[in-house]
């Protein structure tokens, strides 16, 4: 069974169509990347899959659950990390992880989730500091930890390392790879072609609300006779 099956997805805001009938599948345990320029429809697609936005037309199945019909069930198997997500600033890092964990488990199981989250965040003693004292990198690590500690069946990660320095970005990528290896399906979007090439098993290039190319990084490079995914992207987008 595919983790995600998107068929003819359209998302409109009034007369403007942000997503114009895209279809793609994500296999279980796969890391699937959506790449494209600003305003291409990546974030809108991820928001629809995260149950945040209503579907205008088309269908989306997440682990066999019809998203339009049963969004509450979909929320039980996904974890969404928005691009510029924040955490509650009045909480300490550990308190934030516990607040989230207790929506998924109780008692010792919740303790286990928090412990796993602290391991992923790797913030040391700073985990007991208020979130509003964290640097951007620390806050993002906390949020990645929040998203992955529950071991979701599908993690939806929007611009995973946007705005982070090399070291923080590298650490987060390593964590995502490790959790993907343990069975969590990853659907991510990025502007960072290198990151996509390093992380993703398959890629969909999205432009102007449409998927214009799809395949493994190696396939795409071969198909477009390109050195890297950035070249593929330029060739595809410029036509």
């Amino acid at each position: 069974m595919n983790a995600v099956e998107v068929k003819g997805l359209v998302k409109s805001y009034g007369r403007f169509q942000a997503v114009r009938g895209i279809s793609f599948d994500v296999r279980e345990g796969e890391v699937y990347g959506l790449i494209g320029p600003n305003g291409a429809g990546k974030t809108t697609t991820l928001r629809v899959l995260s149950t945040l936005l209503e579907i205008t037309s088309g269908s989306v199945m997440v682990h066999g659950i019809d998203l339009r019909e049963r969004p509450d069930e979909v929320r039980k198997v996904i974890s969404y990390l928005p691009e510029d997500a924040g955490a509650y600033k009045h909480l300490r890092g550990r308190e934030y992880l516990r607040f989230i964990a207790e929506f998924f488990a109780e008692g010792e199981k919740a303790d286990e989730l928090v412990a796993r989250g602290m391991e992923i965040a790797n913030l040391g003693e700073r985990i007991d500091d208020k979130v509003d004292t964290y640097s951007k990198g620390m806050a993002r690590r906390l949020l990645v930890a929040r998203a992955l500690m529950i071991r979701p069946k599908l993690a939806i990660l929007d611009e995973l390392t946007s705005g982070l320095d090399v070291l923080n970005a590298r650490e987060i990528r390593r964590t995502v790879k490790a959790y993907a290896a343990q069975g969590t399906t990853m659907l991510l979007s990025s502007h960072n072609m290198l990151e996509v090439e390093m992380l993703c098993d398959r890629i969909a290039l999205i432009n102007d609300g449409l998927i214009v190319a799809e395949g493994t990084p190696a396939d795409l490079k071969q198909r477009y006779d390109a050195q890297n995914i950035e070249d593929v992207f330029v060739k595809v987008v410029s036509g």
Binding site: S12, Y13, G14, R15, F16, R47, S50, T51, L52, L53, E54, D72, R75, K76, I78, S79, Y80, L81, P82, D84, A85, G86, A87, Y88, K89, I100, F103, F104, L143, R146
Partner: protein
């Protein structure tokens, strides 16, 4: 265009938005309306008061008193039947009946104070409602002066204190079918000012505090980008809405309790020296009455919070959230001012409908209404507030499931000339079909 002009133009454009302009216009309209109300009261006070007079005294001084009253007021009844006088007075909308008893002249002639009996008809318990009787009472000073002048002319100057004050006033106030001997409307309004001021103030503060908590919470969730995470968690939208509402209600009620203690103590100290115990006249509230006031306050609070939640859905950030609380503040301020200075029962019909339509009015008027056993008004107020509160909650929960929660605006209509709200309704109807 100079650099300075460019900056000024940019600042004005940035600051002069509907969100900043509309609240100021609403304030101006509210204060303008209040000015009109108070101006109207002042104007009506300067007109001759409608009074009824029952002269039982056939003596010279009774005629003097009548002449003074006749020259300064509009006498709607002049006869000898007190009951008939009261009926005529109430029909004419007057508030003062003066009875000159049969021994009025003889008492003064015998060096005793003459008694004038005044029966005040009070139509409402607001501070403004005691004004007509106070104006009418000032007529008696003119009566005193005329009788003093008569006594001096007639050489009756042996008793100087009697010449200075030849009459005494015996008052009875009739208010909502309750007859209260020895009390003036001003004294009743003064004692009731505790309820007149404290309850509306507390209700307003609770609504504004709890409301701003809900709106700010929504603004903060959007600004800090925590809302999206919350919405993708395995939590029902209804739980999120109710969680936010109950949290805000609890904090709002805590604020109310703190305010109630402070304001209650303040007003007790102001009216503590009053010698009137309204309980003697049956004007007290029982446990059941307090329960009804509580239910009215609760229903009103639920409506306020649901309304704020709806407004919060449209807010984009914390700063915008602060502006969003203003409509709720104004809605709470209108009944607060109205109930502080006037009585719901004495309002013109249009004003009554408007005040009734604002759900925040009902806990503000509940206490006074229950004191005079007006259960119909309180119960209908609770029923109305509960209905609008439930509707507002359903709207809030529905909007929480819509894109508008994240986009903060209704999508542009696909058809020209159709309003976004119209399109939403149309889509809803089509979906139902």
């Amino acid at each position: 265009m100079s650099n300075l002009s460019k900056i000024i133009k940019k600042e004005v454009k940035e600051l002069l938005t509907p969100a900043t302009l509309i609240p100021v216009i609403i304030i101006a309209v509210i204060f303008g309306s209040l000015g009109g109300v108070f101006g109207g009261v002042e104007e009506s006070m300067s007109e001759p008061q409608k009074i009824a007079v029952v002269i039982e005294d056939n003596g010279e001084l009774g005629q003097v008193a009548f002449a003074v009253l006749n020259s300064s007021a509009e006498i709607v009844y002049n006869g000898d039947d007190v009951k008939e006088a009261l009926g005529t007075l109430e029909d004419a909308g007057g508030s003062s009946l003066f009875v000159i008893p049969s021994n009025f002249t003889s008492n003064i002639m015998d060096n005793r104070t003459g008694t004038i009996e005044a029966v005040w008809v009070m139509y409402g318990a607001g501070l403004m409602d005691s004004l007509p009787s106070e104006v009418a009472a000032s007529l008696l000073t003119s009566v005193d002066q005329a009788i003093s002048a008569y006594m001096i002319t007639m050489g009756m100057t042996e008793n100087a204190s009697l010449v200075l004050q030849p009459t005494q006033l015996v008052e009875t106030t009739i208010f909502k079918d309750k007859v209260m001997d020895g009390i003036s409307p001003g004294a009743i309004a003064g004692v009731m000012s505790s309820q007149s001021f404290v309850m509306p103030l507390i209700v307003m503060m609770v609504i504004i505090y709890a409301g701003s908590i809900v709106i700010s919470s929504m603004g903060s969730e959007k600004e800090n980008k925590t809302l999206e995470t919350l919405l993708t968690m395995p939590i029902s939208r209804t739980s999120i809405v109710f969680g936010k509402l109950v949290g805000a209600a609890l904090v709002g009620l805590l604020m109310a309790i703190i305010y109630m203690f402070g304001m209650g103590y303040y007003f007790d100290s102001l009216v503590g020296s009053a010698s009137i115990d309204l309980g003697e006249y049956g004007l007290t509230l029982g446990v059941g009455d307090y329960v009804l006031v509580g239910i009215s306050l609760f229903a009103s609070l639920v409506f306020a919070l649901a309304l704020c939640m709806i407004l919060g859905i449209f807010t984009k950030n914390y700063k915008a959230a602060q502006t969003m609380t203003l409509p709720v503040t104004f809605l709470a301020m209108i009944p607060m001012f109205v109930t502080m200075f006037t009585d719901f029962d004495t309002l013109p019909t249009v004003a009554k409908v408007l005040v009734f339509a604002i759900p925040f009015s009902h806990p503000m008027i509940a206490m006074r209404s229950l004191m005079f056993d007006n259960y119909a008004l309180v119960l209908s107020g609770i029923a109305y507030t509960s209905v609008v509160a439930i509707i507002a909650m359903l709207v809030a929960v529905t909007l929480f499931k819509k894109d508008i929660l994240l986009t903060g605006k209704v999508a542009r209509s696909e058809e020209k000339g159709r309003s976004p709200l119209g399109s939403m309704i149309r889509r809803f109807v089509l979906k139902r079909k």
